[in-house]
Symmetry: D2
Subunit: 305 residues, 4 copies
């Protein structure tokens, strides 16, 4: 492996000296208020090394990245049965589209669309006594960091303004693919999206995807190796909405983005990397986050392809 | 690595003793006439080993698998400029859909849909004096097998019955994304789809995708390493139409299928594998071919994830 | 004019001796409980005649027919400005589709889709201090029958089960075309859909559409002649969801149907006719109601074409 | 009736003194070359009166208006059987859309979309020995004007440039709803669209739709009264593509437009009116033609509603 600390520093300095593009998510005030020029990076390896640069200690909203963790919680308990409720195909449409649901009888194309994550939230309510607590416990345990928290202001804003997600949930309910009350499902979903993390915490949370489903210290076994491989495949094909193909093409790693500006990616058997920069391109993915990862895998040749 | 000859033989014998499902492609008589129970496999490694089992010497029609080679020929000459004419996103729709073209102004979502391959064929007519010859020369040279040929009966049937593809090509032409005559473009496309190969030839043709873009003997450099990585990424996200996510999930290798019943897949740095069995599932991919590859990567743990 | 009492009796007896088809709406228990074999008819003319046959005195749920009255209330006050919020084009899709809203930025294609009626309900909240009361006052006054009432059990069931309409309203809200609270808008909409009428009341309520916008006794002026003409045009092109063309073709009158099994139609300058029979065809329109009206206009040649 | 000659002159002079909007059709040179400021009008009544103003003697290309005549020729011979091959519902989409065909298995939504007219052309080839001749014979006979002709230059241009229509025809063929060769079908269609008429000829050709299906001189019986009523209904709901609702709303007459700038409309029992002005609005309908008809029916109150 190349000297990773050196590589990420070089790329970091190269990127911050070029113009930044895109818009910070502004549909709720809590996201709009963030400093748009931040850029943080943290890489953690399965053999225990940690590299970081820039604003890696700043907290940001995990947002859609949590969909991968919601899915892991459900997949761990339900196994393959899960796929009766949600598909694994890229949708070719935007993250909040209602388009294909009608034809597919309420089965979302994949678990990383909003529709898919809402169905997973419904499943978690059936599987866990307190799914909200189960999520935060899992994140804290896997990262080894008990300070990770739900940002209740963010969650409250999402609940007040999330008309599109309320529409999605009711639409799916009308098609028969939600069991619980729509409000309960959405509360869980919005709470989980509100979780505040920094780059180091995020990288550590995702390291088990690079390590056959368990944390390197062996204390947490979240998925078996076959399930882990499958989760990585879904991240690759569906992790970036209608930019998934482009991310695979340019970066070549399984990963997931959120409108908080975070992106996390994984090289199986080797490492996880979290990048954060708030300005989003028109597809809703972090502009500098994508740039960073593209340069990183191009330079290091560390990709799955 | 495990004993691959042993592995493929065990899986082969396991599969042929189970019931076969699906339908042989029947839209032209030449494809319909094939023996539906055939199953052939060949795996070739970058360090020169070859393993095979079953009907690996039987010829079959390459069909859509050739789209990867059409794209390679164009990408090699045009580089990134190519992406002004065709996208790299999974479409979430069937292989011959016209659905998204209208919204996207004639830019096919990806080069492995029929629409995309037709646009690539148009590009090749502009790039090569004799693109038909360039294609067969490339295939013969890369595989080291000058006996590979165009099956003119298959090509003639496709031309006589290919109304959907004629529709696609005229539609794209009307939207401004085809330069040459529609007949010339389609003739090239149908000719290339008609190429007859066996499993060994097909595996050998695709080995350069596992070897940074060149044949292991170094005699053919088709793509540079970065281009090769990107081709593999496109195969993974777009190689199986609206079953691409499922293939990534179950098999976890970049690959491409054809209605002739062939599937080829690649593990970068290691090997290429060609499987052939004529019965197709409802998505148009070989039923036993998929089964074989799923068992193979599950057993050997040889996947990119 | 032919002897209308005789005509409707003959058609009535002809229809009830043939097999009845279709299903009674069953999404709420109140609609499901109705006697599926009922058939009532009432025709009222602008010169004061009334003809009826069958179960014309039975009450049924007005349902979507009220959309025409909602629109009239809004059009009367707002005039052409209204069309900035909703279109007048047939949608070519089912009554509860979300499909085209996304492309049209929350502007429903026409006021007789559920989406359109929900937007009209939102407009009425802005226009009237008590729009619920305004609606029932108008209906009672126009029909001269103060006994018409909201069926609160029906309304309560719709509110409890109307996930699809909650989805629609929230979706439109997310696209910016609803001003008021989603719950307020839907409560008004569901209340109005719950109004119970019999055939005579319904025919009388709609007579002003045949009489240049006013009741024949001149006591109620609801629309001016030009507005009335336009309302009739919208009923013709959009009154029967994706069966509007078929209704124009077979019946040839402006009209509107509801899932309660009612259909009302109008011959400008001459009459209004209300038909009720609970079994619905697969498009959601009364099977026997359509049959009756087709026979009626064919026999009498009383159509706009 | 009001003094119609006076009315059309007043409206004519009012319109030509206001700014003209829209673009002349330019996809073939023959249409692009026309004088964009022309405006002609002719109204013919079932009792033999003729009124005209402006450029009513200038010839223009009938284009899509001929679809109504194609349908009449087929309907006359096949009757209701016809509707197994094409629907009667407004499509809610543009005239040349492929969108809904795929879901509807090659059955066009209505006979006045390009897809629908192509299917009707295919039917005519099966019904008539020489359908091209049958069409021109019918037009000449009904109008009493043997000078009406096919404009072979227009037809040749359409054939050379009509990629979208070639796409449509091949797509429908692939879905099984075209029997004859695609070229034969399109040649007939393009020939019929090329017919050159002036306003007086066009109004006279359509007068039988206002006269129960026969010419006022009783020499031509083209449709029976019931069929005529149904043709008028289809014109009303489907005659103006995705502006059909708007035309019904503003004008309130059955009618049909063409990209040559012509519009013809009918008041059953009374008259036919042809208007021609080449500039088209964004929906492909004559800007001044629509304006004229809207003013005409508003002023005279002569509409079906």
């Amino acid at each position: 492996m190349p000297d990773l600390q050196n590589v990420i520093e070089l790329i970091y300095h190269d990127i911050i000296k070029h113009k930044n593009y895109g818009e910070v998510a502004s549909y709720i005030p809590e996201l709009a208020a963030v400093d748009s020029e931040k850029l943080g990076v943290c890489l953690t390896t399965v053999d225990g090394q940690v590299f970081h640069v820039g604003d890696w200690q700043d907290r940001f909203s995990i947002q859609s990245i949590v969909k991968v963790l919601l899915l892991s919680l459900a997949y761990n308990k339900l196994g393959g049965q899960l796929w009766q409720r949600v598909g694994v195909e890229p949708s070719g449409t935007a993250f909040n589209s209602l388009g294909t649901l009608e034809n597919d009888e309420g089965i979302p194309r994949n678990p990383f669309s909003n529709a898919g994550a809402i169905v997973i939230s419904d499943i978690l309510i059936d599987l866990y006594e307190d799914p909200r607590q189960a999520m935060i416990d899992m994140i804290r345990s896997v990262s080894g960091d008990p300070s990770i928290y739900f940002d209740t202001k963010v969650a409250a804003s999402e609940k007040a303004e999330g008309f599109r997600n309320v529409a999605l949930a009711n639409f799916i309910k009308s098609l028969g693919n939600i069991n619980n009350g729509v409000d309960d499902v959405l509360n869980l979903y919005f709470d989980c999206c509100s979780i505040a993390v920094n780059c180091e915490q995020l990288a550590k949370v995702f390291l088990f995807f690079a390590n056959n489903g368990q944390t390197p210290d062996m204390n947490n076994v979240l998925l078996n190796p076959s399930q882990t491989k499958r989760m990585n495949a879904i991240m690759l094909t569906c992790g970036f909405y209608d930019e998934a193909g482009d991310f695979a093409y340019k970066v070549g790693l399984p990963g997931k983005s959120g409108v908080g500006g975070g992106i996390v990616a994984v090289l199986p058997k080797h490492f996880s990397i979290a990048v954060w920069s708030p300005r989003l391109n028109e597809k809703g993915n972090s502009y500098r986050g994508l740039k960073f990862l593209e340069k990183f895998t191009t330079e290091t040749k560390l990709s799955i392809f």
